[in-house]
């Protein structure tokens, strides 16, 4: 609507105007300002004046060009492999009615809630010089020395494997949704018109899934680009953007260079974000009908079913193996040296990192309500109120989700290590970072829940004489609660497993579990790293499952899985 009527609407509700102002102020300080600092740092010389020197380094200095090319290469490989794997599993789940479908679904999404670098740790346990496959199976049993043949888990190959396993769930969730939304009558119509199963797949299923496949390629490409934990552990001499930016800032004390690299990370992410926002507004191909999808029809032959089934089992098996191995690794006395099983790693790791564990839980727990309250307020304003800048608020508050963690981390360092607001070294900076970074998850949940709650319910309450705040508290909030709580759980989990952004703002007084694990890996204390990872996963799973059960009980029938 027109700006004028928006302003008029605000005049009648001064509390809305006030809230809008506060939300914008918060967004400006914690979202826009840090990003702005990154951009400014890229073009500011040592004398404080403008310079293009840092940006030109991106194209001229090999140790800048190289990571850019490496990241693009890795991202492309992972995007293709991850999408392929995700599509296969999505196809298995939506089209072949496999046994243990629920379990398959859960295992396939496990990498989403687990800390991102656990798979890299397992890759070392399996394929490192002292790894089970490389040493125990091939060298000692088979007499084959893979490393003598040029094999190295550190580098492009290893990273591609690990990131594919880490990020295929994105493709899986997206494509399972897309495939489930395709009316099965379309495939049946094709077959009844004489198209074989393969032709039906190629001519109907695939084209209808194409927008989803494209989106998946982009998303995984961005996820790979933004990945920090895996390349830090497994990169070896294969340097990628995020790690190089980190090293530039923490190792070489070159904030301008780091910022320039971060800018390269930022641009494609923002492009994809903008593209996605634009695409979402357009009508998509997928047709949804009221009739429930028939599962396990005839669109897949017996052979096809077997092939899909076996390959999905292999993939899920690999996921289980990679996570299970961390548990095993945590029980081995000294990886590569002493193979006897023990619980001592837990004791020693916990003794060393007890404070990190507490800090992690505490900071994640503190950041969760920050996410929740912000998400709720912003989503409510955006969905239910009219004010100038509504769209800007929406885009800005979802932005942190799209921006790679490395960029956010650098932004926070640049923004809050000098006046007017000095926060470095405090818990506040970590809480703010985690809180605002995870708010978009809650916002999405709250927005879609608000969209489903008919406005007439609120109007009915108002009509019965309830003041606005009471309508919100008594009607809207209870209806929102299930969606909000489940996204809160997810925010907490993300806060617990975050690494790429927070690694810039941790300090001697406030450290995090994830960062401690990375420290153990870097000093090759693999068993301790594994033990801490197990503790982390256990906390996360306990919170996740506990919350799920609590929600089931509190809102029977109304709780939707995240």
């Amino acid at each position: 609507m027109s700006l004028r009527s928006d302003i008029h609407a605000l005049r009648r509700e001064p509390w809305v105007a006030l809230t809008v102002a506060v939300v914008f102020a918060v967004l400006a300080l914690f979202v826009a300002y840090p990003l702005l600092r990154v951009c400014v740092a890229c073009v500011t010389g040592a004398d404080g004046g403008f310079t293009s020197e840092h940006l030109s380094r991106l194209f001229t200095r090999w140790h800048f060009v190289r990571p850019i090319l490496n990241s693009l290469l890795l991202g492309s490989i992972v995007a293709v492999c991850g999408t392929a794997v995700g599509f296969l599993l999505a196809f298995a789940v939506t089209r072949t009615n496999p046994p243990l479908r629920g379990t398959l679904r859960r295992l396939a999404t496990l990498p989403i809630i687990a800390p991102p670098f656990v798979i890299a740790l397992s890759a070392i346990l399996l394929f490192g010089r002292n790894g089970i496959v490389v040493r125990d199976l091939l060298l000692e049993r088979g007499g084959v020395d893979l490393y003598a043949h040029g094999f190295d888990i550190y580098g492009l190959g290893g990273l591609a494997l690990v990131e594919t396993l880490s990020y295929f769930p994105t493709a899986f969730l997206l494509l399972a949704g897309v495939l489930a939304a395709i009316d099965p009558s379309l495939e049946e119509a094709a077959m009844s018109l004489g198209a074989s199963r393969l032709r039906t797949f190629v001519k109907v299923t695939l084209p209808l899934a194409a927008p989803g496949l494209f989106a998946s390629l982009l998303l995984i490409f961005i996820e790979s680009l933004a990945d920090f934990g895996n390349p830090l552990i497994l990169g070896g001499r294969f340097n990628v953007l995020s790690v190089q930016a980190y090293l530039q800032i923490t190792g070489n004390d070159d904030q301008a260079g780091g910022s320039a690299l971060a800018l390269v990370l930022l641009v494609p992410s923002l492009l994809v974000y903008a593209l996605q926002a634009a695409l979402l507004e357009r009508r998509s191909f997928v047709t949804v009908t009221g009739k429930p999808a028939r599962l396990g029809g005839v669109s897949v032959s017996g052979t096809g079913r077997a092939v899909v089934g076996v390959s999905s089992a292999l993939i899920v098996g690999a996921v289980v193996l990679f996570y299970g191995l961390v548990l095993y690794g945590s029980l081995v006395t000294l990886w590569g040296v002493d193979g006897t099983l023990t619980l001592s790693n837990f004791k020693s790791a916990f003794a060393i990192s007890r404070r990190d564990v507490w800090d992690s839980v505490l900071l994640a727990a503190l950041s969760t309500p920050v996410s929740a309250i912000f998400a709720l307020v912003a989503a409510y304003l955006i969905e239910r109120k009219r004010f100038p800048g509504r769209r800007a608020m929406e885009l800005l508050s979802m932005l942190t989700f799209a921006v790679p963690g490395t960029v956010v981390g650098i932004g926070y360092v640049l923004a809050f290590s000098r006046p007017p607001l000095v926060l470095t070294g405090t818990a506040a900076i970590i809480v703010a970072l985690l809180g605002f970074r995870n708010a978009p998850v809650g916002m999405k949940a709250a927005s879609s829940a608000l969209k489903q709650i008919d406005k007439s319910l609120e109007e009915a309450a108002a009509n019965l004489g309830a003041p606005p705040w009471r309508t919100f508290a008594r009607v809207t909030l209870p209806l929102l609660a299930p969606a909000l709580f489940s996204s809160l759980t997810y925010s907490f989990v993300r806060a617990m497993t975050a690494v790429s952004a927070v690694i810039f703002v941790v300090s001697g007084s406030w450290n995090l579990l994830t960062v401690a694990i990375l420290g153990f890996v870097e000093s090759s204390e693999l068993s301790r790293a594994a033990a801490l990872s197990v503790i982390l996963v256990a906390i996360v799973l306990a919170v996740f499952e506990g919350m799920r059960l609590a929600l089931r009980r509190a809102f029977p029938g109304r709780f939707s899985e995240v």
């Binding site: 009316d183 009558s185 049946e188 119509a189 009844s192 004489g194 198209a195 074989s196 009508r283």
Partner: protein, 356 residues
């Protein structure tokens, strides 16, 4: 014989592992060029039967043959039995023309030849102008006509319909069913048509198969199924009926005298079992007359005026009979409480054995 289903059974396993018998032994023969509708209440197994013919579901037991060839285990694409769906199922990523040509191209027809055949058929159906559009630019009725076109150009052996008109508004439904009948007759196409709309079934069918709980309750021409229903279920599913318990007074050659609350009545013998002592009279609301001259005294319990007819509930001798009077303004509308004399046309009633 075009399609023969013998003893088809389909069991599903529900999520809790319980077996559900959706189709419990259906046998049916459809002749060349015949249009047969499967009619029945929701969940009676119509769709499942049809989907087995198409090859989308594999029967648990029984056989399907098309033109004498056993196709029970054939995949759908080798049956040449295109289906027209309730949701139209037009491919959204293809134009109307590409949709229409889809089946021909699968059969290896040359692109140009396929184009010619699509154009010819589209012209005959008045769809030529729509060919270059995309499906989402069409109205529901147009989409369903395109779906029909897409199925027809392949010159199918058997055309299958699953409630193709359910998503259309009432007027469009009437127009479309005329069109379907015209096109199918013109091309002498064999078709199996699933519906739960009895008007549709009556208008379209050569024969109606009434289904109940996975079984065939009755097969017959529309007139036969309506006038001589095989059971209470069929009688009450097709139209309205009251059931009046009677005693058999006399049985002659092909005729029957029944006595009951409506008095003694001589009717044609529907073939009651020998020695039957009791029977159930099936009385349709339109075969009861209140015009006077009847021998039964009755009282009007309620009156509804619908314009083209009036509906009454009339209490007669302890029974309540629904009655319809066409063109009610001619004889005047009866008030509630009015005393009437009721007569029943013996040629329009039918009798069932007690247990039918």
């Amino acid at each position: 014989m075009s399609v023969r289903l013998s003893n088809l059974v389909k069991e599903f396993t529900d999520p809790r592992g319980k077996k559900v018998r959706a189709v419990a032994g259906v046998s049916l023969e459809v002749s060349e060029g015949e249009l047969v509708t499967l009619l029945g209440p929701s969940g009676c197994g119509k769709t499942t039967t049809l989907r087995m013919v198409a090859g989308f579901e594999e029967p648990t037991a029984g056989e399907i043959s098309i033109h004498g060839r056993d196709v029970t285990r054939e995949p759908p694409h080798r049956r040449n039995t295109p289906m027209v769906f309730q949701s139209y199922a037009l491919f959204p990523h293809l134009s109307v023309r590409e949709n229409a040509a889809f089946g021909l191209l699968q059969k290896g027809v040359e692109k140009s030849a396929a184009r010619g055949r699509v154009d010819a058929m589209a012209e005959a159906m008045g769809l030529l102008d729509l060919l270059d559009r995309s499906p989402h630019q069409l109205s529901g009725g147009q989409q369903q006509r395109v779906a029909l076109l897409r199925a027809l150009v392949t010159e199918p052996k058997v055309l299958l319909f699953d409630e193709p008109l359910s998503n259309l508004d009432a007027q469009m439904r009437v127009a479309m069913r005329e069109e379907i009948r015209r096109v199918l007759r013109k091309h002498a196409i064999t078709a199996i048509y699933v519906t739960h709309d009895q008007d549709e079934a009556m208008v379209l069918s050569d024969r109606i198969v009434v289904m109940e709980k996975g079984r065939v309750a009755q097969v017959g021409a529309p007139r036969e199924v309506y006038a001589r229903p095989a059971s209470r279920f069929v009688a009450s599913f097709l139209g309205e009926a009251s059931f009046v318990p009677c005693e058999v007074r006399h049985r002659g050659a092909g005729s029957l005298v029944l006595d009951g609350p409506l008095g003694a009545m001589a009717i044609a013998d529907p073939g009651l079992p020998r020695g039957a002592l009791r029977a159930t009279l099936v009385v349709r609301p339109e075969s009861v007359s209140l015009a006077g001259g009847g021998s039964l005294p009755g009282r009007v319990r309620s009156t509804s005026y619908l314009g083209h007819e009036a509906r009454y509930e009339v209490a007669v001798n302890g029974l309540v009979l629904p009655v319809r009077v066409a063109n009610p303004l001619v004889g005047g509308i009866l008030a509630e409480g009015a005393e009437v004399s009721v007569s029943i046309e013996p040629r329009a009633v039918h009798a069932l054995a007690e247990d039918q």
